[in-house]
Structures are given as structure tokens and as C-alpha cells.
């Protein structure tokens, strides 16, 4: 078109591209940068501070290999559940059924072995399968029927917990019997000890799980899609992400991990009990760990390492306060204060560093 002014061609003469200077350099700059690229660093700092704090308060009793590895054992179930919860929350969902699924699958692993005489490894596989299937049901309701995750998993929580009581007929399978007849169910409880430190396979599995998921979330396309779906599902869909597939994979994987937590529970508690409190409060515990770990409940932001550190922070506070002899209600109260304080510190570090 000849009618148009040719002022725009003035822009083409522009040869070099200017860019701003970095204004922050040096150690502090690097630190700020690290905080920004690594959201798990903040909960890690809080964790280390908590360990040091209780170390000063309680001395070598707390800083002993025994007590420190005890924390790992005490958080192993919540830690595994928090991994599942992280995946769901990253997609802007929430899973209230994680604890219930863990308990039900532990009951299935136990009852299938004892009631029906199925070999323990097969029962474990069935339990893992049931967990995955329950995850698939929730995932389908969220992704296809478009129901809010909160409601789906709230319903699932009640259904799974009630089914657990009904199916088990409130029967506990005793540790002694498992030991004698199906020791494979105790696999996650196998201990590796050295110099006072005790690591169970359950603890090792928890750590490995977190590392593998951290890798998958950061360095694979699937992981990027999980973040994109949580960030803005509509945009992700338009940008060519298979939103349904991603959601299904996340909910199924979360269900599988919950079942893994069920197996870890058998290893930790020895027995299989349908009334384990994990079924009732495991969800809140896992969500607490995730949120203390700096993962946004609105989806798409945060790192799974953060959730792991979040679980450890709560574990450190709980053991530390108990060892200090705090009265239970005072312990609850202080944990409440500390949850808020931990996140406030997190917030403060982020603010100062930006």
C-alpha cells in the first residue's frame, strides 16, 4: 500500500540491540538469584535453623544420630503422602483422600494375604493397583466431569475410609502374625543401622521418591506440563498440552504413591490396622507439609523438595517439643504458632531477597 507513511522503516535502521545492565552482583546477588531459581531453599533454611535451635535447647540428646534419624522415621508416612499431595496441588487441586487411600491399601495388602491366602508380594501389587485405580477415579471426575478436586477427594475420603472399616470388619492383623507368616509385608520396615543411626527402607524409599519426582518435574516434558496445567489450564490446553492426560497421570500416580505409603505404614507400625489415624488426619498433615514447603495452593508454583523439607520441619518441631517435655496441648499450640512462623519467615526471606 503506497498510501501509508513509511515511518515504520525508521525502525529497521536499528542495528544493535541494547540491553539493561544487571545491577546486583557479588555474593548477595548470587544468593538472591539462588533463592529465586530454587524455591526449596527457603524451607531448607527454616529446617536447618529449627534443627540448630533444638540442638542448642536439648543438646546431644537431640543432635544424636538416633534422634535425627528418628525424625526421618517419624515423617516417612507423611513425607510419602506429601509427595502425592504435591503433585495434585501443583495442578491446582487438593487431595483429601491421601491418608484414607494409604490405610485402605495397607488393609488390602494385609487382608488379601491373610484372608485369601494370596502371596504377600502379589497382595502388595494388588494394593498398589487399587491405590492407582482410586486415583484414576478421582482424576476422571476432576478432569472429565470437571468437578472441583476438593469435593471429589472429600467424597473419596469418606468413601474410602468407610469402605476400609466395612471391608476390614475392624480387624487388626497383628505384627507377630505378619512377622511369622508374611514378612514381605514388613519389607519397608527393614532397618539399616550404623553408629546409632537407623534408616528403614521406608525412609530410603521416601527420599528416593522425592528425588525422582523432583527430577521428573524439573527435567521432563511431563513435569513441565504438570506446572502448566496448574498454572492456567486453559492456556495449557491452547498451547497444546494434553490437559486431560496430564491430570489423569497425576491423580493415578498420586494414588499409587498413597498405596506405597500404605506399604510403608505396615513396615513402620508392624501391624495392619484399619483405624490408623493417618486415614483421618493424613490429608491435613500432608497439606501442611506441602504448604510449609512453599508450594502454592493455587497451583503451578513450588518444588517437591520444598514439601519434603516442610514435612521434616514439622517432624523436627514435634520431636523437639516432645523431647523438651512440653505438655501435649502446649505442643499442639506451639506447633500451630510455628506453622505460621515458618511460613512468615519464608515470606520474609522472599521479600527481602527480591
Amino acid at each position: 500500500m503506497s498510501e501509508t507513511d513509511n515511518y515504520e522503516t525508521a525502525a529497521s535502521r536499528d542495528g544493535d540491540f541494547a540491553s539493561f545492565d544487571d545491577h546486583k552482583k557479588g555474593l548477595l546477588g548470587h544468593f538472591h538469584n539462588a533463592l529465586h531459581t530454587n524455591p526449596a531453599l527457603v524451607p531448607l533454611i527454616v529446617l536447618v535453623a529449627a534443627v540448630i535451635g533444638f540442638g542448642i535447647l536439648l543438646g546431644s540428646r537431640f543432635l544424636s544420630p538416633f534422634a535425627l534419624t528418628l525424625i526421618l522415621q517419624q515423617v516417612q508416612i507423611v513425607g510419602v503422602l506429601a509427595a502425592a499431595q504435591t503433585l495434585i496441588i501443583l495442578t491446582a487441586g487438593i487431595d483429601l483422600s491421601v491418608g484414607a487411600i494409604a490405610v485402605l491399601t495397607s488393609v488390602i495388602m494385609g487382608q488379601f494375604t491373610f484372608r485369601y491366602g494370596i502371596p504377600a508380594p502379589v497382595s502388595v501389587v494388588i494394593g498398589l493397583g487399587v491405590g492407582t485405580a482410586l486415583g484414576a477415579v478421582s482424576g476422571w471426575l476432576v478432569s472429565r466431569v470437571k468437578l472441583p478436586p476438593f469435593i471429589v477427594t472429600l467424597g473419596m475420603w469418606q468413601i474410602v475410609l468407610a469402605a476400609n472399616y466395612l471391608y476390614s470388619a475392624n480387624q487388626t492383623i497383628r505384627s507377630q502374625d505378619i512377622e511369622a507368616e508374611a514378612p514381605f509385608l514388613h519389607f519397608m520396615g527393614v532397618k539399616l543401622q550404623f553408629a546409632g543411626a537407623t534408616f528403614t527402607l521406608g525412609v530410603i524409599v521416601m527420599v528416593l521418591l522425592v528425588l525422582i519426582l523432583a527430577y521428573a518435574l524439573k527435567s521432563t516434558a511431563w513435569g513441565r506440563h504438570v506446572y502448566a496445567v496448574g498454572d492456567d489450564p486453559e492456556a495449557a490446553q491452547l498451547a497444546g498440552v494434553n490437559v486431560h492426560g496430564t491430570l489423569m497421570s497425576v491423580y493415578m500416580l498420586a494414588g499409587f504413591i498413597c498405596a506405597l505409603a500404605g506399604w510403608v505404614m505396615i513396615g513402620r507400625f508392624g501391624s495392619v490396622s484399619p483405624s490408623a489415624t493417618t486415614g483421618v488426619i493424613g490429608n491435613i498433615q500432608a497439606i501442611t507439609a506441602v504448604v510449609i514447603g512453599g508450594i502454592s495452593l493455587f497451583g503451578g508454583r513450588g518444588s517437591i523438595l520444598g514439601a519434603f523439607f516442610g514435612a521434616l520441619i514439622v517432624g523436627v518441631f514435634e520431636l523437639g517439643l516432645r523431647m523438651a517435655g512440653a505438655d501435649p496441648q502446649w505442643t499442639f499450640l506451639l506447633i500451630g504458632v510455628l506453622i505460621i512462623a515458618a511460613v512468615a519467615v519464608d515470606q520474609w526471606i522472599r521479600e527481602v531477597s527480591s
Binding site: T4, S12, D14
Partner: protein
Amino acid sequence: MSVEPILKGRNLVKRYGKVTALDHCDFDLLPGEILAVIGDNGAGKSSLIKAVSGAVIPDEGEVFLEGRKVNFRSPIEARAAGIETVYQTLAMSPALSITDNMFMGREIRKPGFRGKYLRQLDKPAMEKFARDKLSELGLMTIQNINQAVETLSGGQRQGVAVARAAAFGSKVIILDEPTAALGVKESRRVLELILDVKSRGIPIILISHNMPHVFEVADRIHVHRLGRRLCVIDPKEHSMSDAVAFMTGAKEPPAEAVAA
């Protein structure tokens, strides 16, 4: 019309509750051409390209790609068929980086074992590619290729989206107001890019309110009004004033343009 359109819409209808966004609309994109779509705000332009690119499923009507009827149920299917779209809303994940967004859904994996079995992404390769594409567009005020998209200015964000489409489109590229937020320099680059893509034989749909741009690059102009195609005009035979008059209803379009 003798040539078979590469992308064709017939009788498309899309309603949102009480609002009719597409009202029995037809649409044709010919091979190798740049087709501009112009029309008032709310005329239904975005709805039209969403309907042909799988982003919404039309309530009625049919879409044909290279003569074959297609039923895209999602943008992924359209993309797999070679149709790349820059939506008006840009479709970016705000918390993710520029690179992540550019490669969303078609990430590059590392060669060998790490890519095949560990499914590891080749971040350096993706970053280099992204940086190159942005440089081509002259978007050099972007200071960090790993910056989250939410920290970019509106124009920078749009530039990233256009770069993504241009880099990956194989059969049809659709741009919904690609220069709306762009500066003069950046807009020029986008126009150059459009002509460059055309010269590679790939047809383009360009939705724009910028008449000089439209008249500069378009081969044909689809005038959209009240949810349907009012007429198709040749920019060499009509003036900008004509186009605007048709589009706004101030003037009746010529009969042969309506038949087109």
C-alpha cells in the same frame, strides 16, 4: 473459486449462552496466501479462528483441511495437523519460563540414553532455539530467557507467542492480533516474519485492527460483521476507507465480493 481452499469453514455457529458469536459463518483460506480478517470488536473474529483451530467446538457447521472434513476436538489435534495459532489471550503459562512456554507440548529431549529412557529435556538446545527466534523478532529487551513469562511486558509476551507460532507452523499459521501490544520496531519484525513465512509457502490468517498493516501484507481480506463473513475483498481493488465502511456497516459491499 477454482483453487481448493487449504482451510475451509462452512456454516459455522457458536453460541455463548445468550450471545451468538458465530452466526452461520463461512470461511476460506487459499494455499500460500495471507488472508486478513477484519471486523469490529466483538464481531466474532476470535471465535471464528477458535472454531477452525480446535480451541472451541462449533455448535454447528463443518471445517475442512485440504478438502478433508476435520473434527478437531482440541488445539493439540489442530496442531498435529499443522495448524499453529497465536490466540488473542496468548495462551502462556505465566509462572513458566519463556523457553518452557515456547516448547510447551513439543519439548526437545536430550539425545541418547538420557533422552530416550530418562526422558530428560535438552534445556540448552531449547534455550538456544528460543533465544534465536526472539532475536529474529528483535525482542532484545528481554534480559533472561529463563525469566517467567509473567514478568514480561505485554508486548514482550506477545512477541514470544508469535515467535512460537512462526517457528512451528507447517500448514497454516493463524495470528489473532499479533501486533496489538507490539512497538513499532517489533510490529515491523512481525510483518517481515509474516511475509517470510508466506515466502516459505505457508498460508497465514491475520486478524488485525491495523488497516495499514492489513493492506500492506494481505492478499485477500475477509470482512467479518455480526458473526458472519460479510464479504471478501481484494486490497488492490479497494481502499482502506472502503474496507472500514463495509466492516462498520456504513456501506454495502459489492455483490461479487459477497458471493466470494
